[in-house]
Structure formats: C-alpha cells, structure tokens
C-alpha cells in the first residue's frame, strides 16, 4: 500500500536520514562530554568491607529497574509506573516507525498491533498527565524551561499519533489514510533530529551519570544502599 505513495517514500527516506543525523550528533555529544577531564577519587576506599566501585556502578546503573532501591521511587511508586509506561511508549514508538518501513507485515500483525498500540495509547495518557503536572504544579512550573514543555508536548503528540498509526497499519476501520503514517514518519524524523539538542538526550548521558555516581558512592561504601 505505502509503496504507491511518493510522499510516503520521501517520509521514509527523511526518516532514515534523520536517524543518521541523530547518530552523528550523538557521537559529537559524547566526544564533547569526554573532552572534560575525568574526576578521580584518590582517597582510600571508604568502608573496605563494603567498598566496591564496580558493584556500586552496577547497582546504580540498574536501580531504574529496582524501584525499592530509592525512596523517591519506593514512595512514589505510582509515578514510577507512569515513568515505566512513558519510556516503554518511546520504545514502542521508535520500533513502530522503523519496523513499519522494514517489515510492514510484522506491524500489521494483530498481536504486535495490540501490544504496540496499547503501549502507545497508555504512554499518551501518561504524557497527558505529565503535561497537566508540568503546567499546573508550582514546583514543575518553576523548574520547567521551554525545552521541557516543547519536548513533552511533542512526545504527547507523537504517542497519540503513534497509536493512531498503529491502528492504520493494523487496518482498523476509520484509519485508512496513508497520510497518518506519513505524518508519523515526518514527526519521528523531526523528533530524531531535535532530541540531541534537547533534554531528551538525557538517555545518552544516563548510563554515564549513573555509572559515575555509582562508582563514586561505591568507592565510599554508601552504594548499594543499606536499609535497617
């Protein structure tokens, strides 16, 4: 179906080009980050029997999957769940964009469509909640920049359009227009080009910031956190 549309073809090409641009910018970003000198802790290990830089780094890197490890996720478990759904939505959205151009049959598969579509829809709802939270909570308003707002608005739209696109690809009645997919691919392309310059690039830094703080606190003996 989509081969027949030259607009769709353009969207696909742009979309792959955007991916390459993103990869290049990200490489430059990392080069920039690693141009700064590494901070080193020359002091002797804090609590020798508990000190382990690598263990600290490992714990730190994967504490995203251990909501019990931080008070903020333990107490704010509902918020943690929205965080999980939001980020699964990003994975679903990116997968949908690329798989739709590589293997259209897979994305039309009912099981895939249900999983991906409902994930995107839930992520859309979470994103709406986040928009509300950012617009109306005094703390969030105070710390938010135009980049924070725009990134969130864009992702909200992207999740919503992604859910609709999945419906289109699955052949759901009422969503037949190929323009839905075209719009989604163009929005994804914009998203890919925009993210390296925005707060969304946090996921690029994430492994490094987590490993660094994990090594630092692991060396001192405060990571992994012990509760009693």
């Amino acid at each position: 179906m989509h081969e027949s549309s030259s607009l769709l073809h353009t969207a696909e090409v742009v979309h792959w080009a955007a991916l390459i641009i993103m990869a290049v910018v990200y490489s430059l970003r990392l080069r920039w980050l690693f141009k700064f000198k590494p901070g080193a802790d020359k002091s002797a290990p804090g609590a020798p029997d508990r000190t382990d830089k690598e263990r600290g780094a490992f714990y730190s890197l994967f504490n995203v999957a251990m909501p019990w490890s931080m008070e903020s996720t333990r107490k704010g478990f509902a918020f943690y769940l929205t965080f999980v759904i939001f980020h699964l939505g990003v994975v679903a959205g990116i997968s949908l964009a690329f798989l739709s151009t590589i293997t259209p049959n897979l994305v039309a598969n009912p099981v895939f469509a249900w999983i991906c579509g409902s994930t995107l829809f839930l992520a859309f709802l979470v994103a709406l909640y986040r928009v509300f939270r950012r617009l109306f909570t005094p703390v969030m308003k105070l710390i938010s920049t135009p980049d924070d707002y725009f990134s969130l608005f864009m992702l909200t739209a992207w999740f919503g359009l992604g859910a609709v696109t999945q419906a289109h690809l699955a052949g759901v009645q009422g969503f037949e227009s190929v323009n839905i997919l075209v719009a989604y691919l163009f929005l994804t392309s914009f998203f890919l080009i925009y993210v390296p310059f925005s707060k969304i690039s946090h996921y690029l830094y994430y492994p490094f910031t987590r490993i660094w703080i994990g090594r630092a606190l692991g060396h001192r003996g405060s990571y992994p956190i012990v509760r009693g």
Binding site: G39, G46, A47, T73, L142, T209, G214, L217, S222
Partner: protein, 602 residues
C-alpha cells in the same frame, strides 16, 4: 527590555566555572530532566511545602543556567530555550544566588541518592558556593570562619596557646578524676602510633570530649598524641566550596602527621571533618599517598573488640537513638560501626527511620550553623528530624558529629523534644570498666580503682569538670545578665555558692553600664533580652575601651544568636553555653576562662 551587561564578578565566575568542570560535574549539569522526583527527599521542601524554590533541581539550576549559557550547544545559541537566559548577570543577582546556595541547602546529598538520573545536586550546589566565594559573595559567618581557618589553621579562631592550655586543663582534670597523672595528654609526641585530630568546637565549647577521648586512649594503653599544628580535622572548604582552603587545611593535618611520624590519624567524631580529612582532603590537596586515617568510632570499636577496653552497657541505660551524619553515612559509607559500638555500650538502642544513607539532615550541615541569617528557615526545616526523633521515644540522641550535636540541639530545643544529644565518646567513656582495661593489666586490683569518684550513670556529670576546690570562684566578680528572673537567681546562686561576688543586670543597657562601673572579672550574658539584645550589648562591650577585655560567657537558649561566634564584627565570646546549663560545668568553665585570662595577662 534590554538586558544588563554582565558584571566583572559574573565574568570571573564564568571563568572559574570552566576550570571546575569535569566529566562527573558536566554529567550532573546536563543530566537533569526536571522530573521533580527529588522534590520530596529534601528536608527544606518537606518543611516549606508552599515554597517551590526549595526544590533541589531549582537550586542546582542556578549553576546549570550559567553552564548552559556558556558551554551547552543549545544554550549558547538559543539560551531562552533551555533557561540559560535567566543566568545571573548582575551583582544583585549574586545576592539572590547566595541565599539559595547557602541558605536553602545543606549539601546533604539526600536528593542525590534519590535522583533517577544520577544527578549530584549537592555537588552542584557546592560548586555554586565555590564560584560565589571566589568573588567574595558569601554569608558573613562563612567569611569569618574561612578567614580563621586560612589564618589560624582552625575554623573557630582558636589561638595555639588556648588550644594547648585546654589540653593541659583537660590533663589536670583527668589527674583529678583518676588520682594520678598517667593519663596526661601527650602533645607533639614524635613516633606515637596515633595522631588525634579534633573539631575546634571541642576546644572552645565542649572540652570534656577531649578528656573522654584521652581517658579512652589511656585505658586502652594506646601510644597516641595530639599535635600543636594541623589538629583541626574540620574543613570549611567543604562548605564554602573553596577547594584551595580545603586542600590547605587537609594538608596541615597530613604534614603534621608525617612530621610526627605517626602510623595513623584518628579523627574525632565530626561528620564533615571525617569526610574532609579522610576523603576529599586527599583530592583537594593532591596528596598522592593517602595517610591511613580512621574515625575515633572505629578506633573505640576496635579497642572493645580487641579487649583493650572493657565496657559495661548498663551504665548507659537510657533509651538512645542514633542520628547519622549525612557526610558520614551518605558520602563516606560510614554507618554500621557507630551502631555496632552503640549496641556494645548501651542497653536500649532504638533505630530512627529512615536511617543510614537515607537519614535526614540535622539541619546543621553545609556550614549552616555559621550562617545565623538563615536560622529561622533552618529551624523550620528541622521539623522532619524532630518528628523522626519523637517517634523513637529516645531520651538521648547519639550522633558522631559535632555539627550534628549543635544542629540536633537546636532542633530538640525548638521542637521541645525533651531529650539530649550525646556522642559515642561520651557513652564509651561512661561505660568504661577501668579495672579491666588494658592499661590496668598486671596491676594490683586496688590500682584499678582510682581514688577519684567513679563515673556516675550520667555521662554529663561524669564528664563535667570536677570542681577541685571548695570555692573555685572565690574573690571573683561576676556580672550576671539575663532578663528572666528565675534564671538570674539560679545563676547568681550557683556563682555565689562557688565563692563569687555577683552583680545582676536584666537588659543590655544595664549590662554595659554595670560592666563599666563594676568592672567584673567575667560577664555571664544572655542573648535574647527585651530592649538592647545580648548580641548588641556584646558587640558594644567589645567595642568599648573600658570593657573590651572583660571575658564574656554567653549562656543562651536561642540558637539563632549563634552569630556571636561566627558572624561577628568583634572577637568571639570566651565561652558559649546552651541553656539549661549544668552547674558544675558552668562553674568550672567560668573559672577556667577567668584563670586563663589572668595567666595571659601575667
């Protein structure tokens, strides 16, 4: 509206920021997604729910904006897009930054361990403090304390002769307690195994902890010494963000330890002192070979485990709880040893929740005790700690940090918790069974029990300097200044019973007038009084030729007036005691101040 041009100070801060950036710092600067998850982890937020500016990321954003405006790609081209257009530009902006960096954050790092992105907000706040300090923008207390540490080598402006005099005083006290002089504090003993470094607060306001440590070292048969230089384990560089001061202060300790040829530095109970000496000082000073160092808590625990000292926990039978110093627990992984020791020297230990690396700040962290302008906010932020303590039902809050002793003391007083604060050294000294300690091995049984009275169940009493003579204040003239009649009566009675001639005043003006006419040997001064406050009276006393040399011992129940120690335009008071005061301690303290002054005069 046209933006004002950057001032010279801002340009200097930007230049300095560039020199402070390393990968970890940059990671924290770029890693924040403004998710707000750290919000509820901060004691300032929890106690100021209506003030969004208390949120950790807002505090870190102050330096983040500066970074984004100068180093970030997007921020350099479209500053408004990432908030970099709101970076400080004028010197007035710097005043606001000062209030945020010094007045709304104790650098406790609780938000750091609760950030899903691994952003170290406390480090960023310290970075901002350092940038401000570098251009001379800081609270007055921070300026005074930093100057003292640069110039005198300790952050409380203790003169070398006063320090040595205090050690000698404590040696004498020990001699009186034990009935012999064997436990005398060794000063500058070359080749000793241990060099004991302390917090200057111990010299100035709580010397009993020095005496207790000396007793424990002696009981364990330790070969130890206290140095005449490099004895201050604290480090204001950690609080002010000045790495230069941090390095210089730490190096003083390391160099002295090397000069004396000791095997190890033992750091008395001080959270930031431990962190600065044991860890950060090594990095700031660039001292490639870290010296073996440990907290005195570890030393005492080892003594018990090795059988060098023997303790009887039933001597500490009150319900105790433990407050973790943020620096110890979160930044040094030092939280199990104090608990282990506490269980050995007490009978009723009740854990406080949350604890260890998740514990809340005492409110006194980050040098907050020296910034009296922020005291009301600090005390308000103590609500969370107060609730934690209250829930334990403890009579004694134990902590391994002198800063926390003051911070918790203020919280306990402000929230009327009715408990007291002690350190592990107090409890260990009180629980000692001297007859069975290493130093007594091989001695006849009678030698084990010194003639002096055995320590009582109350550490405070046992530790309080023993009054050696019937009337230690005989012939002394004391002016007691307090607006509350019952307190005045109490103080007058205590001093008169100790042999002093006492005159009273009930406000600041009367205090100055009577000080001029009566010429007392010492003034016991309350700070909170109607009319001319004690602080104003104190400053006037110091600035008036006829009264400037009269020693002053502040006796106050109001922590917010701590500025007479830190934030002062005049020399600090000779003594500072918190109400309620212990009678023996008060008399011994006042007698010591007067004697010291006389010795100096002679």
């Amino acid at each position: 509206m046209k933006k004002p041009a950057k001032t010279h100070k801002i340009k200097m801060m930007e230049a300095q920021l560039a020199t402070k950036l390393n990968r970890q710092v940059v990671g924290s600067l770029v890693g924040c997604v403004h998710c707000g998850m750290c919000n509820d982890c901060c004691h300032y937020v929890l106690s100021h729910p209506d003030d969004p500016k208390m949120t950790p990321s807002y505090k870190a954003d102050q330096v983040r904006k500066l970074f984004k405006a100068n180093h970030d790609w997007t921020g350099s081209v479209f500053p408004w897009w990432v908030g970099a257009d709101k970076a400080a530009l004028t010197d007035d902006d710097l005043e606001e930054l000062k209030d945020i960096a010094f007045g709304t954050c104790t650098n406790c790092r609780r938000c750091t361990i609760n950030c899903p992105m691994g952003v170290d907000t406390a480090t960023l706040n310290r970075l901002m403090r350092g940038l401000l300090t570098n251009v001379g923008v800081m609270p007055e207390g921070v300026r005074v304390v930093s100057k003292d540490q640069w110039e005198l080598g300790n952050q409380m402006g203790v003169l070398k002769e006063d320090y040595i005099d205090t050690l000698e005083w404590m040696s004498e006290e020990l001699e009186e307690d034990l009935g012999h002089g064997e436990a005398e504090i060794p000063i500058d003993k070359a080749g000793a195994k241990i060099m004991y470094a302390i917090n200057p607060r111990e010299v100035k306001y709580d010397p009993r902890t020095i005496k207790e440590a000396a007793l424990i070292f002696w009981a364990a048969g330790e070969d130890w010494t206290m140095p005449t230089e490099g004895w201050d384990n604290t480090n204001f560089g950690l609080f002010s963000g000045d790495d230069g001061l941090g390095g210089a202060s730490a190096k003083r300790e390391y160099d002295k330890a090397r000069e004396l040829g000791v095997d190890k530095i033992v750091i008395s109970e001080c959270g930031h002192g431990y962190r600065s000496t044991r860890h950060e000082g090594v990095n700031w000073s660039g001292d490639a070979e870290p010296f073996p160092m440990e907290s005195s808590v570890m030393t005492m625990l080892r003594y018990i485990k090795e059988g060098k000292i023997v303790v009887d926990p039933s001597k500490n039978s009150q319900r105790v709880t433990f407050h973790d110093s943020c620096n110890n627990a979160r930044s040094c992984g030092f939280y199990e040893e104090p608990r282990e020791l506490l269980r050995l020297v007490t009978t009723d230990f009740q854990e406080m929740y949350p604890n260890r690396a998740e514990g809340f700040c005492c409110t006194g962290g980050g040098g907050a005790m020296s910034m009296s302008e922020y005291t009301p906010r600090r005390l308000k932020s103590g609500e969370i700690k107060a609730n934690q303590i209250r829930a334990t039902g403890a009579e004694v809050v134990v902590t391994s940090c002198h800063n926390c002793v003051d911070g918790l003391g203020d919280v306990i007083k402000h929230y009327e918790l009715g408990c007291e604060v002690k350190q592990l050294v107090d409890l260990v000294a009180n629980a000692l069974v001297l007859e069975e300690c290493a130093v007594m091995k091989g001695r006849p049984a009678t030698a084990a029990a010194p003639e002096a009275p055995a320590p009582t169940a109350e550490v405070e009493e046992a530790a309080a300097p023993v009054v050696a003579v019937e009337a230690p204040l005989a012939g002394r003239k004391i002016l007691v200044v307090d607006d509350e009649e019952d307190i005045r009566t109490f103080l007058v009675t205590v001093f008169e019973d100790a042999g002093a001639e006492v005159m009273e005043a009930s406000d600041g003006d009367e205090c100055i007038e009577k000080a001029k006419t009566y010429k007392p040997d010492i003034i016991s001064l309350d700070l909170s009084m109607p009319g001319k406050s004690g602080v104003d009276a104190f400053v006037e006393l110091r600035k008036t030729a006829e009264t400037e040399s009269i020693p002053v011992c502040v006796v106050t129940g109001h922590p917010e007036f701590r500025q007479v120690i830190y934030d002062r335009p005049v020399p600090p008071p000779e003594g500072y005691l918190n109400k309620p005061v212990d009678e023996d301690k008060l008399v011994a303290y006042v007698a010591h101040i007067v004697e010291t002054k006389e010795e100096k005069a002679n």
